[in-house]
């Protein structure tokens, strides 16, 4: 009878557990988690902190008891693994206990990145990644009278924290070292449109502003120092600078790691019998053909399922993904597909009546990336199209999809551009 270990219990860990149990009814499955909560999506934290989602709503797969019973798993909460021996597939727990496994999954996720700068007032500083982070922000919102907050990081997490604070009547300064908002997903022209709307909503924006220190303040709890010498007072500083994959176990075990743990289509790492899935790993970026961290909830689900199935003896593959994002904030939808660093011919479409703006980049008449503002419904169809273009070359949007795109306000001429044609063809 096989024994399996899953290290880390987020979306990838859960889907691996489910897939292992589907394929192996009798094996022993041990799950190790550094916290005591059931699996949840880190992007839900701001919804919980702002009372837009109840605590139970954080856990799409149910609580730990439900999962433990349904999948007959032993779940070790608040358990930290301190070492992994890749040759013997042995784990060392914090208390020194050693356990050996036939197959091991590393699903250790990612952690908020805290920059190596002086932070003199940690009580006035929050990150936004874990449920503990959400609990901290929730308590601050309930107990403190905040006038001004500085959010560092104009990212998907940063904008959601900014939104929560803004909705609570706090004046928000959103700052980033990058030249524009959503620097990893948005084209500069699309970003400008978002920034204009945010400014109209009352959010103060500061770009090309590097954070140099968070000092204890006199006017407010914190004084935020920027590299250009500007100092801003703040009751609260939110550090949403990004995440770093939790790869220490893999690195120390000699497993191949770049920014994340490198995996193949079967979610195998460089060490036999050891798999990785979710935000800690690098699968294939279908657009570049290189491995890359694509830290998305659904991507973790596909990777986790694939890893679990293969660990239990099935033959499963997940080919990879493209960079893509959707974020709904301040009554806006921003959606990005593809690597926004790829340059080429830029084409745009605007339907003012529908509040829709689309910007796309074509490389040699071939679609390489899309930004959408103001319409969620077309996003899945256009994602389907760009995936087909990237993976199979030329692609024509089907009639049944085309009709929906036209109904939502796109034009036939623009669709032909996205298909690699030109106006008038």
């Amino acid at each position: 009878m096989a024994t399996y270990a899953i290290i880390g219990f987020g979306g990838a860990g859960f889907h691996a557990l489910s897939a292992i149990r589907d394929a192996d009814q009798t094996g022993t499955i041990h799950v190790y988690s550094e916290h005591a909560d059931a699996p949840y999506n880190p992007m839900l934290t701001t919804y919980y902190a702002s009372n837009r989602l109840c605590y139970e709503g954080m856990f799409p797969f149910g609580d730990l008891d439900t999962i433990r019973t349904a999948y007959r798993a032993e779940i070790f909460s608040n358990s930290r693994i301190t070492a992994l021996d890749a040759d013997t597939r042995t784990l060392t727990l914090e208390d020194g206990t050693k356990r050996s496994y036939d197959k091991i999954l590393l699903a250790t996720g990612a952690r908020s990145f805290t920059p190596p700068i002086p932070i003199e007032c940690p009580e006035a500083t929050v990150s936004m990644r874990t449920l503990d982070d959400a609990r901290a922000l929730k308590q601050i919102l309930e107990e403190r009278d905040l006038k001004q907050a500085v959010v560092i990081g104009a990212s998907m997490a940063g904008i959601k924290v900014a939104e929560v604070l803004h909705n609570n009547g706090v004046h928000v300064v959103l700052a980033d070292m990058a030249p524009h908002i959503f620097p990893l997903a948005a084209y500069p022209e699309t970003a400008k449109r978002i920034e204009r709307q945010l400014a109209a909503d009352g959010v103060e924006l500061r770009f090309r502003s590097g954070l140099s220190a968070v000092r204890a303040g006199s006017e407010m709890a914190a004084a935020v120092e920027f590299s250009d010498g500007t100092v801003l007072p703040a009751d609260l500083v939110a550090l949403c600078i990004g995440t770093r994959a939790a790869t220490e176990l893999a690195v120390n075990a000699g497993i191949q790691v770049n920014r994340g743990i490198v995996i193949n289509e079967k979610m195998e790492t460089s060490a036999p019998g050891i798999y990785a899935a979710g935000d800690c790993c690098e699968g294939c970026n279908l657009q570049s053909g290189q491995t890359m961290i694509i830290g998305l909830w659904a991507n973790a689900a596909y990777q986790g399922h694939t890893a679990g199935a293969n660990m239990a003896g099935s033959s499963s593959a997940f080919r990879g993904n493209i960079l893509h994002n959707i974020t709904h904030f301040f009554h806006m939808d921003f959606i990005g597909f593809g690597d926004n660093r790829i340059t080429g011919e830029t084409v745009t479409f605007e339907n003012k009546e529908k509040g829709l703006y689309v910007q796309a980049v074509l490389q040699d008449h071939r679609l390489a990336g899309i930004n959408i503002l103001g319409n969620y419904r077309i996003s899945g169809i256009l994602k389907n199209h760009i995936l087909a273009v990237i993976e199979h070359g030329g692609h024509t949007i089907s009639e049944m999809q085309r009709g929906v795109l036209l109904r939502e306000g796109l034009s036939e001429a623009f669709l032909r551009l996205l298909e690699g044609g030109t106006y008038g063809n």
């Binding site: 419904r377 899945g380 994602k383 995936l387 929906v404």
Partner: protein
């Protein structure tokens, strides 16, 4: 109950919109308050100038597996274990629109409260031996609800399902 397929034959459709109206009535949604209809009705004209139109009534294709289910961060979407239709409970929906980004057919709608709604195949009507509202009123038989066996026996003729499956196959 058996695995069910909500099928559509564009050659029989005249885009009359009766299905959309029946769906609105069945699901109590009101476009005036911001809800978007679950069905998109349209016709396409052939690009080569032939005087031929194709008519469509497009809603959730109940993909299997359904990419929207993996995309939802709060577990609103699931497969009905009896019929395999893609159904939902939007109590915890946060309106993030992740399901929409996963759907290759533009099926998820969001109501005035920002919560997701979409075609659920009228699975509750099916449990009571009824047909879906859209199927019931379709005057030409373009929409039909059939068991998987009935669908397979027809070898895909006059069905949108093969095309829908080909589209959804690579969606992630």
């Amino acid at each position: 109950m058996k695995k069910m397929i909500l099928d559509f034959d564009s050659s029989k459709c005249c885009a009359c919109g009766a299905c959309a109206i029946a769906c609105m009535d069945q699901n109590d949604y009101d476009p005036k308050t911001g809800s978007a209809p679950f069905r998109t009705i349209f016709e396409t004209e052939h690009a080569d100038g032939r005087p031929v139109f194709t008519h469509y009534s497009v809603a959730c294709m109940h993909c299997s597996p359904a990419p929207c289910i993996n995309a939802c961060p709060v577990g609103c979407l699931r497969k009905d274990p009896e019929t395999d239709l893609t159904v939902y409970d939007n109590t915890n929906c946060i309106g993030c629109h992740s399901c929409a980004m996963a759907c290759p057919f533009g099926a998820p709608s969001f109501n005035s409260a920002g919560k997701m709604e979409k075609c659920n195949g009228c699975y509750l009507r099916l449990q009571y031996g009824l047909t879906p509202a859209c199927v019931r009123v379709c005057p030409t038989g373009a929409l039909r609800m059939v068991t998987e066996e009935e669908y397979e026996a027809a070898h895909g003729s006059g069905s949108i399902i093969p095309e829908a499956r080909a589209i959804a196959k690579d969606q992630i």
